[in-house]
């Protein structure tokens, strides 16, 4: 089995300033990774690249053994496998239900199958009964859960989470932690950024630490001991 992601000499600049410079990094399928590092260390930039939303300026990204070419048709296929939940996610100006079904509709899923997938995702995120609500009239925690449900409904192979637990109430935080923890067993690999060291041990995750765009350590959290 080839690795889920292989990064080789991945570089990303903004203007002339390098913000990401990763010699080599391998991420395996079925795992839960936490990505840590100070503000501006390049976590969001790395997730954008892993989500195939933004190409690196240099280097090779290999996904499931195949080099990513960044051509339109290929990207569209890849993005159906990998979903990014943005930091302060955007909800479309429509109902909660239309938000949660958006990605499913993009995949041509309709009818009862669509409804069931959406309802299951809403329930997982503690949002049963929210489907008719306007996505613009939710609390911060509710909005974050809708964004999570919208991603979960797709059952992606990889879920990338950018600070999913920042700025949410403690109830939402523990609900989301529980959902995230269960994902690898359900077939979804997870890579999430976080500021809170407690999440790493809570999630029994493998930590990747970034400093100024470089990977400085790549280890299982001390708490769990094994890979």
């Amino acid at each position: 089995m080839s690795a889920l992601y292989q990064l080789k000499d991945i570089g990303r600049r903004y203007g002339t300033r390098p913000v990401l410079d990763i010699d080599s990094l391998q991420l395996q399928a079925g795992r839960l990774y936490t990505l840590t590092g100070a503000n501006g260390s390049g976590k969001t930039t790395l997730l954008q690249i892993l989500a195939f939303l933004q190409p690196p300026n240099s280097g090779n990204l290999i996904f499931r053994g195949l080099p990513v070419t960044w051509s339109r048709g290929v990207l569209r296929q890849l993005r159906r496998e990998v979903t990014l939940l943005h930091q302060s996610p955007y909800l479309f100006a429509t109902s909660v239900y239309a938000n949660v079904t958006f990605g499913l509709r993009s995949r041509g899923i309709r009818g009862e199958k669509l409804r069931r997938a959406a309802m299951a995702a809403l329930e997982t995120c503690g949002l049963s009964g929210f489907e008719g609500r306007s996505a613009r009239e939710l609390s911060g925690g509710e909005a974050q859960r809708v964004a999570m449900a919208r991603a979960l409904a797709l059952q992606p192979a990889v879920l990338l989470l950018d600070e999913p637990l920042a700025n949410v109430d403690s109830e939402t935080s523990s609900l989301l932690l529980q959902v995230i923890r269960s994902l690898p067993k359900a077939g979804t690999s997870v890579i999430m950024t976080t500021h809170d060291p407690r999440h790493q041990s809570d999630l029994n995750s493998i930590t990747i630490h970034l400093e100024n765009g470089c990977v400085v350590s790549n280890a299982t959290s001390s708490h769990s001991g094994i890979l």
Partner: protein, 228 residues
């Protein structure tokens, strides 16, 4: 003063009695304006969105050009379209001059830059997260764009309303291309401009009141949409 009050009374009587000439001019105005705006929106909204989301050489110049076209004097548009539609013009064969169709063509030209300008502005002011969000959820290019337009729908509706406001109140194109033919191409504005001088002041006033009401309604609607 006596004259003004007397005329106002007559004007209101004309409106309340649904005077044929008043109703006809209002109907022609609305019909021509609505068709122009539909045509301008059909072309202008996709064009404005396309300009907004694509980066290409000359984009800045194009946007400046669109903004300049917004301020085109109506008589100049009337003049140019007249040139095309007149007997010896390239489209003279169609015999469209002095018909509602000619007015619609001229007003579409007037409305188009307005629709493009405001839809472009609505999309450029849209939340930068909309497209990446749609993409990461697996949507193709068309679905992404449709979602973007839907999320700025109030700005797009405002674009259409602004264009309607401009064409319903203009007189140059309607006069030069329509010709103020009673029961055919006589609109609110051409009637006011041309009949008043023939001593039909109260009639002009009746249409003026109607036009003001339409303008007021449009402005309120525009502001509501822009604030959403």
């Amino acid at each position: 003063m006596e004259f003004l009050f007397e005329s106002l009374r007559t004007a209101l009587t004309l409106i309340l009695a649904l005077d044929f000439d008043v109703v006809d001019a209002v109907g022609t105005s609305l019909k021509v304006s609505i068709w122009s705006v539909i045509l301008a929106a059909t072309v202008g909204i996709p064009f404005g969105v396309a300009v907004a989301v694509n980066e290409f050489r000359g984009k800045r110049i194009l946007i400046t050009l669109i903004n300049t076209l917004m301020a085109l004097p109506t008589v100049v548009v009337g003049l140019v379209v007249y040139g095309f539609l007149s007997r010896q013009g390239p489209l003279g064969e169609l015999s469209l001059l002095f018909s509602p169709a000619a007015m619609i063509i001229g007003q579409t030209v007037l409305a188009l830059p307005i629709v493009v300008h405001y839809s472009l502005g609505a999309v450029r002011g849209a939340d930068a997260r909309i497209l990446p969000t749609a993409r990461t959820l697996g949507a193709g290019p068309l679905r992404c764009l449709i979602r973007l337009v839907l999320d700025v729908r109030f700005g797009i509706v405002a674009a259409v309303i602004a264009a309607f406001g401009r064409v319903v109140a203009e007189v140059g194109v309607a006069m030069m291309l329509g010709g103020n033919i009673r029961g055919y191409t006589r609109s609110m504005t051409t009637a006011i401009a041309l009949e008043t001088s023939k001593g039909e002041f109260a009639f002009g006033l009746a249409l003026g009141i109607f036009l003001m009401a339409v303008a007021l309604f449009i402005n309120i609607l525009f502001n509501v949409m822009q604030e959403r």
